[in-house]
Symmetry: C2
């Protein structure tokens, strides 16, 4: 948080505590809507309610609601009267309005939808797309022009166009059936003779997406082609929406956060909602219970080797390091594969190469760590054979762990499951099991030579 | 990877294998530069060399080099003749050119810098900024106009301006000292009478950054204010560069990847370079060795309790589950804090609240897992007291793990160290140690009642 925001936050909190409504109203009026929106991340629900109630300007309120998470937005909006809700929703991009309404109790949601649907025929259509697709994040307020207009006419249209069209920097060109046929930049419009028809200026090779494309793929596309917006077309190439780069940035941040939460075995849902501790615990627990059972299985396997263990009690001292290191190496490889899939740098055609690379890296690191641990074991317990056992087991466990770290996410990806589910906890539990098996198998094998 | 790219990749690889240069040249000519750049992620160094050699168009070659990683770019460019290198570098944004030259052998780099510095006085200046700052990613080709120009004159300037100015959508307005005084959009220019001076149209409240601002902070700013570009100004408010949203997107992806690598205990350097297995192993090993020693310490602590262990051998079976679960819970909390710091959702003013929340969540999950494990222990070993010991130890270990997961990254952040270094391996090793201590302390305490 930058200092400016920190000062603003302190002031706001103080004024709320004191109930100094007139002063707070003045602060709200003088502050950039983006800064007001940022404040909401640091306030508790009650403070959020007070602050939101003081935003008199429907446009500012709409801006704030578009920026904060939709469930919080729904909660805040419900507190207001019908008339106010309606005014604010009208100021919002329809896609955000729909997402907020989706988070309200069913009855209220239906009522509001029927009210705003009167003015916006596209609401029904927006509701039909999944939240995580191009259709779910697109804006339907598009500025498009017919291909037969001249440059001068286009500029006149632009001057007449309403203020609330989302950022105009590309002008989409359509034919008489509203099919997307080209694109041009505002700048191009200015640098041609006034009588030139748009179809002679436009680039007809337009990058566009379908409404059912996953939002993550849309983000890849925008990042790859360095474009500021991408048009959304239906199966007949009819222009139905536009996704701008600021939406793409939000998607990218959200997906990166989700992946990181999932990799750590936390639930990605909790990333964007202010859930209670019980709800969060309930979201994380299923995965933990799976790992708990995995841990019990590991313990059971150890138990099977209790004769070996009872014979050479020194073996027990190396259990944590063998399982722990296997988990670490597996986690490294898994993170690289999961992130690679997410950014498009890794796919099945390059997976083989990556697998062998991670195996080589795992082997090199395994040999170094194995030798180190063998030295530790030798000097600690004065048993050369114990050194050999822990060294060999450590090297083998790390090689297997690196292999598993690549294969587990790839396996889930192949099944059509999000590879981030092959999270650290999963890979670690799997590697605990293989690590213990490798360790005790090696120990049992060398048993006759262990004193 | 989308299907179109997959087909292109297969074709390219086949043509390279066959040495079918004329066909491949034709493919290169017909393909979008962004797609050619994407291909380079999937080719081995030799294939990259062949393909790059076939790009006849200096503009396309420059585009490709701007998109792929700078060390690969430097390697490919070195293969060409001086004249060609020069032509290509001239087509590139200066910031990218500088970054590529930085990756070349010193002698060649100096030679190239002296060649291109002749045409571009800003190169020396660009070299003085750190790669990860606003100065390092900004472009110095800026389109700015004097505040006293009229709207009509501004449009004329725009028409005359060179093609290679980076995307124009904001026009920055400066006074006679080249100090930034305002900003306006192309669209605003079109909607006012032709004689209006720019200073009457422009917004004078411009969001700008200093060249030494960290690139991650720049990305936050752009994301927060939904802007398409941010101007870079020096201490006297003189306009020296511009950072566009496409650069910001690259920064965001790169930072998210780095954080994920670091969280997994892999090195963030390897994310963007095609290093050999040995180099990667060397980068990851220091961290692993630290964890190896942590694992040995854990083992040593267990060893101190070997009398307890020898008395109740059943205790050994629950070691992996106690340490493993502590590591998982700690990793979840750590991921949430690290990501929170990166996105700005968490900071020291909200940390206390988050800590107590994670502790509550940890306690709830600890009680559930503790009860489950107590049940397992009871039914497996038919010892109620063993159940009590593992249950209590598990609950306590999970509570401590959640606490540690929040405090460790916060501690590093406070020290001014990247909090992502409080990675899973670190938190897990720390939690292995506390987990073992809690477990055996509990067991020793209850020893008289354990059979």
């Amino acid at each position: 948080m930058d200092q400016k925001l920190q000062i603003l936050l302190d002031t706001t909190k103080k004024l709320i505590r004191r109930g100094a409504t007139p002063n707070l109203t003045k602060v709200v009026e003088k502050t950039h809507p983006a800064d007001i929106a940022a404040l909401f991340n640091y306030l508790d629900p009650k403070e959020q309610g007070v602050l939101f109630g003081l935003i008199r300007n429907a446009e500012t309120a709409a801006y704030v609601l578009s920026e904060i998470d939709h469930s919080t937005g729904a909660r805040l909006l419900q507190e207001l009267g019908r008339e106010e809700i309606r005014n604010i929703l009208q100021e919002m991009p329809h896609d955000d309005a729909v997402d907020i309404i989706r988070n309200m109790p069913e009855k209220l949601a239906e009522e509001l939808l029927s009210i705003i649907s009167e003015q916006a025929a596209d609401i029904e259509q927006l509701l039909s797309y999944h939240e995580d697709t191009a259709g779910g994040i697109m804006s339907t307020e598009i500025f498009s022009l017919n291909e037969n207009l001249t440059a001068r006419e286009a500029i006149e249209e632009l001057q007449k166009s309403a203020e609330n069209v989302e950022m105009v920097f590309y002008i989409y060109v359509v034919n008489e059936h509203n099919h997307l046929v080209g694109v041009l930049s505002l700048r191009q419009l200015l640098t041609v003779p006034a009588q030139t028809p748009l179809k002679d200026i436009m680039t007809s090779d337009v990058i566009s997406v379908r409404p059912d494309m996953d939002q993550e793929e849309v983000a890849h596309l925008v990042a790859k082609y360095n474009i500021l917006a991408v048009p959304v077309v239906d199966e007949s190439n009819k222009l139905i929406g536009i996704i701008t780069v600021d939406d793409v940035i939000d998607v990218m941040r959200q997906e990166a956060t989700e992946d990181m939460y999932k990799m750590a075995g936390a639930s990605e849902e909790e990333a964007f909602h202010a859930y209670s501790s019980f709800k969060i615990a309930r979201l994380r627990l299923p995965w933990l219970i799976v790992n708990l059972l995995g841990g019990v299985v590991t313990g059971y396997l150890m138990w099977l080797f209790k004769a070996t263990l009872a014979n050479v009690i020194a073996l027990v001292a190396f259990i944590p390091v063998i399982t722990g290191m296997g988990g670490n190496v597996g986690g490294q490889s898994a993170a690289i594969v999961v992130r690679g899939f997410a950014t498009g740098r890794v796919d099945f055609s390059t997976l083989g190469k990556l697998l062998f690379k991670e195996m080589r890296v795992g082997l090199i690191m395994g040999l170094v760590c194995g030798l180190t641990l063998a030295g530790v074991a030798f000097f600690w317990h004065h048993s050369p054979m114990l050194g050999v056992v822990v060294g060999v087991a450590m090297s083998a466990a790390m090689l297997v762990a690196a292999t598993m770290g690549v294969l587990a996410p790839a396996f889930f990806k192949r099944l059509g499951v999000d590879p981030a589910i092959a999270s650290m906890p999963f890979v670690q539990t799997a590697n605990d099991i293989t690590g213990i098996l490798i360790y005790f198998a090696t120990a049992t094998l060398f048993m006759p030579y262990l004193r």
